[in-house]
Symmetry: C2
Subunit: 333 residues, 2 copies
DNA sequence: AGAGTTATGGCGACCATTTACGACGTTTCA
DNA sequence: TGAAACGTCGTAAATGGTCGCCATAACTCT
């Protein structure tokens, strides 16, 4: 493999000049530039990445830590992150945190130890304090799907509380008064925020929140299954169910269909996330749009601008929006 | 940041000895070992990854190239790859090929150029010859979901032809004779193989393959939607549909449900892949199990064993299996 | 005591970048 | 004409862990 030294020999210039040609931040005459370029082409020269990283202390890599890789949620986000960074020749190193504090911290250490220039974190279990301290370290971080006031400029998130509010408000507008709720795990920030929104919507309409009509699911299909069985077993009446994500809605609906119920005629459902499948399951899900892929893109662009100093414009913030499809229906009187 | 030199000074030994302690492949007396370890702890010494990579010409990273990151298919595979490699302190760099030959080759170059020690490739557009040549290069590769005879030891794949056969055979056993087929893109290997299996099943049962009952979809939900509309418009009679993946089944079924049809009473469906959602959509999908996550794990373990020389046992091969659920039903006479 | 084994040190190669410094040569302007 | 300014390019050192090779020691076993 040809080295920069070989190139300098062939071109008849010094090492420094070859480097100057490659990192076009210094003045080099056009004539020497061409000589060097020709020598590089002739030798099929490719800079040694390891030596570049050592000397410049920059690996051109970004670590991305997500809670999980399976499931419908993170794929679109990863896709956007990869595309945006790849376009600027940065590579993406992935790690999975499994929504566990120890694993999340271990993953952060792992990524930093591997020389990532910056991190994109979607973490749920780790404390605010940890992240604030981390943000003061040498490796820049961006938080996705989480808001911490002290480092708000590094937070790219959706107002989950508002989303939860919109979901329940939609049902209230359709005349529903007895609304059950299948929550995500209470140790996850977004799950709590969504539930808060639900409770605020109830309160603003003068309705009491009934803890017995609230079930803590696991954000997976089984969570919806379990939640639905719990709600039926509770004996409490309800005409609509809000689920904290679409996967749990699909599990919940599958239970109802197995019991021979007609959805949404007998029971209305509202989900959250608007995963790609939401429009293909039956009935088509009414849900809250969660532009997770755009958030991924925004995180990547933020890093390109603020860490890699690219001259890129970063988009503005977004809001949750209701997507009304078929799974929620006007309450029959 | 402390360097290996600082450690050697504090411990009163040479650089070489410190290195020997870290890379426990040489004889070091227990006494010096403890001295060095103590010095490292005292200085909170962390080896510089970049220097390690430069000197050892090994980055402890594996490049993973997949066709896409969104969709339900690759998430589980990535999750297993990440978990298996992470357990051995290897990191995963991702790239997306978009089923396009130029992009795939570019991505391979990108990953190799970044110093990956090995590659896991799920590529569809690139030619066999390219991959054979690549396999002879300095960077080891493993192929997922593709079989090339000349490098069969590096291929981790499922017999797609057999899977296609099993799907159609299941319907034949249920009495169906007029079976439509919604294929994946014909430029993808696995799509062709699955279709081959379908045709073999028909042939073995003395049935002719009718090209008019075959539609080339795009492996996404819309492909199923388009396929279903095409089939209905064709005017040809059919009692069952095989789709080359589950996403297209869900699209196809959604068209039928919109038309007020009863599934599976009026039309049977068999899918392929057994994606997580398959059991939560209504009706629950009868499909071919595609253990893509296990294949990911196997690819990772193969690399750990053959490239990183870990003493790990790699699992054996797998076969496609039919998962009979609700979307296919005995033909009423 | 001599032979064999184990432990350790020294050294150079690996290789692109950055910085400081200086040496030219050319241009510009007083 | 002389000096200052500027563009261009070279030199040299530091960055930092690994690995192989060779040279010493310091043991252990007959």
């Amino acid at each position: 493999m040809a080295t920069i030294y070989d190139v300098s020999q062939l071109a008849g210039v010094s090492l420094a000049t070859v480097s100057r040609v490659m990192n076009k931040n210094a003045n080099v005459s056009e004539k020497t530039r061409q000589k060097v370029l020709a020598a590089m082409a002739q030798l099929d020269y490719k800079p040694n990445t390891f030596a570049q990283s050592l000397a410049s202390n920059c690996s051109n890599s970004v670590g991305v830590l997500v809670s999980q890789l399976d499931g419908p949620y993170y794929g679109p986000m990863m896709a956007e992150i990869e595309a945006s960074l790849r376009a600027e020749n940065k590579h993406v190193i992935i790690a999975v945190g499994h929504s566990n504090a120890a694993t999340e911290m271990d993953s952060v250490e792992f990524l930093i130890g591997r020389g990532c220039d910056a991190l994109i974190l979607d973490v749920e279990a780790v404390s605010d304090e940890y992240l604030i301290e981390l943000s003061q370290g040498p490796t820049p971080i961006v938080l996705i799907n989480r808001y911490i006031a002290q480092i708000s400029d590094r937070c790219i998130y959706l107002n989950n509380e508002l989303g939860g509010y919109l979901a329940t408000e939609h049902l209230l507008k359709l005349g529903h008064q007895e609304i059950a709720y299948i929550s995500g795990p209470k140790n996850k920030h977004d799950a709590c925020e969504r539930l808060d929104g639900h409770m605020r919507a109830l309160a603003e309409h003068g309705l009491a929140f009934d803890p017995q009509l609230c079930f803590e699911g696991n954000y997976k299909e089984e969570g919806g299954v379990d939640g639905m069985r719990y709600l039926f077993a509770s004996g409490k009446p309800f005409t609509a169910v809000v689920c904290a994500n679409d996967q749990m809605v699909s599990g919940a609906i599958s239970v109802c269909l197995e019991l021979g119920m007609k959805i949404p005629e007998q029971l209305s459902f509202v989900g959250y996330d608007n995963i790609p499948f939401a429009r293909y399951i039956s009935p088509k899900l009414t849900t809250i749009n969660n532009p997770i892929h755009e958030m991924g893109k925004m995180a990547a662009l933020w890093l390109l601008k603020n860490v890699f100093k690219n001259d890129i414009e970063v988009m503005s913030v977004f809001s949750p929006e209701l997507v009304a499809r078929e799974s929620a229906k006007q309450l029959a009187r």
